[in-house]
Subunit: 94 residues, 2 copies
């Protein structure tokens, strides 16, 4: 029986390894972990995924990467669009 | 007869709109333009794609996004891994 549980990790300003460790721990119990980020955290999100893959090689791979944008109201009251990314990391079939 | 021509735009330090304009111009003549970036340019690459889609709505959409990493030798002689992204923008079927 396959579990469809999926978990999301939002990338922010913490050190990269915080997210890497958290992703690897979650992947040990559930089949898919999705890394999400927006704006300036998009680069670091890709870094996190690459480090996870490298450290756990060849157990996991990247699923269908989605990019998009969200409309935010900034502190000066203007609407600003910010880009987003979602990167699923999934266990490889054995 | 479908043309398989594809063109690549590397995102660097220029103003975003330089890349946006260049992508829109290329998309007027060829069916797929791939936006590539690495390291700190990954975030801006996603921004470029989102702006292109927004301005040309609903003519184009995002294809299969690929992420990866490359090994570079930095100026101090050490090996460093840098993350990469490739985002194809393709014309929607009519």
């Amino acid at each position: 029986m396959l579990s469809n549980t999926t978990e999301t990790i939002f990338i922010g300003k913490k050190p990269l390894m915080t997210y890497v460790t958290s992703a690897i721990i979650q992947l040990s119990t559930i089949p898919v972990v999705t890394i999400k980020a927006r704006g300036q955290s998009i680069g670091p999100a890709v870094d996190v995924v690459q480090i996870v893959l490298q450290r756990t090689k060849p157990a996991y791979s990247v699923g269908d990467v989605k990019i998009g944008s969200e409309s935010l109201v900034s502190s000066d009251g203007k609407n600003r669009n910010v880009s987003t990314i979602e990167i699923p990391i999934k266990r490889n079939a054995k």
